[in-house]
Amino acid sequence: MIKGFTRKYKPLDILSEEEEEAIHRGALYVLEKTGMRVEHERALKLFADNDCLVDFDERRVRIPPGLVEECLRKCPSSFVLKARNPDQDLMVGGNTVYFMQGMGMRYVDLDTWETRPATAAEHREAMIVADALENVHLADGIFFYMERQGVPPVMVMLENLASGLRYSTKAEQFGYQKDCEIFAIQMAEALGINLNPELDTASPLTIYGGAAEAAFRYVEAGIPIQPCSSMTMGAEGPVTLAGAMTLGVSMVMAWAVLTQLIKPGAPMSIQHGLKPMDMQRGSPRFGAAEYALTGAMMNQMLRRYQIPSCPGSGFTSTSKKIDYQTGYEKSMGALLSALSGGNLLIFQGGSCAELLYHPVLSILDDDVAGWIGRYLEGVTITDETLAIDLINEVGPIPGHYLNTEHTRNWWRKELFQPKVADLEAYPVWIRSGKQDALALAKQRMEKILTSHKPQSLTPSQEQAIEDILKDARVYYRSKGLISEEDWTTYMKTLDNSA
């Protein structure tokens, strides 16, 4: 199991007990009075069979508070995400903090900062880098490079999952869309892993059929799910942080009820993203301070319910480049997510809202993750670390500590060493070509790609994945979701990348 980072002190609580209670009761009231729109017949029947008030014409379900609280209690406080390499399993929950590979739909050219669909080789290289990075604990081959050259959109998630499984042995994130979960479950079963699929809620108060159907499929297959409670505040939810939180918590509660009615004790984490809207442009402000605040509030509410939390704050920036804005928006968001009790932080590699991903950024972000992890681990206080005898022994100047056994024993444990930060003295920096962190990260990427060899799938595993992909291709082609023109291009792309 990957240990990840342990937050060794109390989390940052920003709500008082009374404020927490007000949000909790408000959310219960919303679910009982207004309820959720659920566009899924089987889910509606399940709610109706369990004492919810269901209007089948309006597709509306009103949930009694007692049922909500019972189902919240049934959600496990932690669960295991199984990796291809069992040494890399994750135990999600409690005060453990893991970092997850970030997302961004397109590849970005680091000279022009223009984006374009990625090639299979670029996806593979990004996965190899993610596999090598010590602070990427959960891989996410799916949600970066959702635009792939020569791959029909309907096959991208499965091709990305296959690439993720081939080039990383870490546990994998997933999603759902147009039945692709059927094939993803088959892949997971073939490799003896589970996935961590995220399922959308449409705010306000709506679960569409695709997400509900995927929930049934995953929960019944024993796979933990990660429903999302997301909105742009002022558009898809109230603009006040308290109102947005009340709406967000009511959607969390609705998912807890659905999940626990499908299978009591089924594991679930919540991904959340309550961010303000740019009132001029209409787009979400991913780097906003308020996003970090709602992230902290939701982390606190999820701790109350003992449901593992996956905060979105810090996962991306609106900057189009790998620059100062990307650095501060992502770092501050992630740091506050970690301090306030997030368990799975979506992080390394993405920027430009959700548009770009680059492995060089994942390398830079990995240093930030290490920095945050060091902060979380806090301070060890023992006789040895207090070093009182040593302080007395060394005494005043000319005494120093560089030559002591204590320094040799402890410095690596106590001090975090970033891999690609510019730490050089100024004259050395001038002589060595004025290299900044971005340049150093590019060099580290080259080094990783020449030296890191992820453990391959066994021949039988590879065959199983390829067979499942073939079935999926036939399935989507027969459903008319891959045109003949796209099919021809797709087949050529596969031949060229083989």
Partner: protein, 213 residues
């Protein structure tokens, strides 16, 4: 009296006051004010708010609220127009929706609002709209423009299916098709045979003006 009513109607739009907009447009009807003049007042008021938005003097919450107030008043004045055998003068008619499998509403709703503020007649089909509903809506409403939104790469291909279905139904020639959303690029729009693409809602309005003109 007429001037007071029309001025109050205009003020109601600019104050985002739906109830007052309905009240004053009803008063205009009761006082037999020419519905064409009422419509002019409404249009001038919403355009003023739209211009302020364009100049960065007001923001989306104000613009959307003003457009909502206008839409609350519109049915009453349209009924009046019909009764005298006249029609609302609009720049054009747009049917808009987010494609099947895609639940993202805001971008499409912004476009609809900005189009209304610009003088277009808009039919909003909502989100997660299946191919057949787009085709039916084009058949029923005979719009100048069909606008489709998709935020996800995987749902973007639905736009292509809609265009193919319009062709199969013999409706492609009567309507211009535009596409937008996070997953859409100009290259993709060209590839699926759309007539236009815009990455933003204000750009979508400019595109609609160009295509409807």
């Amino acid at each position: 009296m007429q001037d007071i009513i029309l001025e109050s109607l205009s003020r109601a739009i600019k104050d985002y006051d739906k109830a007052a907009a309905v009240r004053w447009v009803t008063a205009a009807a009761d006082n037999q004010i020419d519905p064409l003049r009422v419509m002019e007042s409404l249009t001038a008021a919403i355009r003023e708010v739209g211009d302020a938005f364009g100049a960065g003097e007001c923001f989306l919450p104000e613009l959307v609220s003003a457009a909502d107030a206008m839409q609350a008043a519109l049915p009453i004045v349209e009924e009046q127009l019909r009764s005298i055998g006249a029609k609302r003068e609009s720049i054009g008619k747009v049917v808009a929706g987010t494609v099947a499998g895609d639940i993202h509403n805001i971008g499409k709703s912004m476009l609809c609002t900005l189009l209304v503020a610009d003088g277009f007649e808009v039919v909003d089909l909502g989100t997660d709209v299946p191919v057949e509903r787009f085709v039916e809506a084009v058949r029923d409403h005979e719009p100048d423009i069909l606008a489709m939104s998709a935020l996800l790469t995987i749902t973007a291909s639905e736009q292509k299916l809609v265009i193919e279905a319009l062709q199969a139904a013999g409706l492609r020639q009567i309507v211009k098709v535009i596409v937008g959303g996070g997953a859409i690029s100009e290259e993709f729009a060209n590839k699926i045979g759309a007539d236009g693409y815009s990455p933003t809602a204000p750009g979508g309005v400019r595109l609609c003006r160009k295509l409807a003109g």
